[in-house]
Symmetry: C2
Subunit: 191 residues, 2 copies
Amino acid sequence: MAKTVQARTLKTRAKLLSAAKDLIEHSGYEALRVEEVVLKAGVAKGTFFSHFKDKEALMDQLIGARLSEILTEIEAGPVPRSASDMVAALTPFIAFATSERYVFDIMLRYSGAAAISEIGPIAQTFLQHYELFLKWVTDPALPTRDTIAPELMAEGISAFMIQAMSLNFCALHSSASVEERLEPYLEAWLN
Amino acid sequence: MAKTVQARTLKTRAKLLSAAKDLIEHSGYEALRVEEVVLKAGVAKGTFFSHFKDKEALMDQLIGARLSEILTEIEAGPVPRSASDMVAALTPFIAFATSERYVFDIMLRYSGAAAISEIGPIAQTFLQHYELFLKWVTDPALPTRDTIAPELMAEGISAFMIQAMSLNFCALHSSASVEERLEPYLEAWLN
DNA sequence: CTATAAAATTGACCATGGTCACTTTTAGAC
DNA sequence: GTCTAAAAGTGACCATGGTCAATTTTATAG
């Protein structure tokens, strides 16, 4: 008749997350194996899947949490005064998002919630950076084209950031860094 | 001592591709199973993997070929005279790319070649639509901002097209069609 | 304290992509 | 024709994510 979540549930979940974090710190996201996580956490395989829908749901949690941390730090900083400033502010985000091809892929795949009722951690961060960009483009410190709705401006920044990061994984464009590619995009978009 | 590709290689490859196409036509890309392909093609599983690096390499071939066909048809059409025109021209491409979540994911993942020497079919189509957009923005029929390099304009169109398609899979934005979302982006970007 | 039903956990088992040592086929050299 | 080395093909086997009927644990009613 108990409808509450038992204390051990939280404990098990914490053990799984902690094990996963340790393993990732050591070998990265892509190399993570469910088998290793449950072994390290000291639970059965089935337990993993009663806590996370699948392996990627765990990734959504972990990667989403990290992205959110980074965005929160960026939010705390000053409003950029130019495209170049903006690129500099976004550097930590870009660095993490492109740290592994796998991380970038998961981020893209989870950027849109499949249903409003189930907005996952990564999808949350997309709302978060949309809000951040909205704040920036409506701040007088950042001069932008005023013929374009701020909502559209914000979505555009997002689009260009993703494009610049995508090209990072493409041999044809690998000569330039993500930041070097992003700046001209933003320059053109903002003005 | 033979260094040439044997005739049977081409035959086997054709059988595999044909089997895969049939299965996909019936049940879509995501539902494709390597087991079914080799069964239908009448070859062993190992043969599949000596023709394609992995299952996704086959998808790269099939999806890339379809995308290229569509782009070639678009190329044959007239240069769009406005953002709205451009969206209309791109509709077939968008329809296929967003026909399945899986197709869109593969397209994004293979959009950048890992190495210049191995530009796959999907990566080719990104070059192809870059060329197409370049042709469009440099054509006098399509009025655009002349303060921005055509190369940048073309990359921007690409970025917005992908953004609009991404949002299609997001419940938060599902009220509008891809085309309805894309048009204001392009309007803002071109002018 | 005991009964009991829901919650949580278990691990054998399954699905499917992918590997590789071995066999068969093929294209020339003689 | 026959020999031979490379190319092509085979299928048992592996790796890993994911399932589910059965079991254990927990909270609470009485």
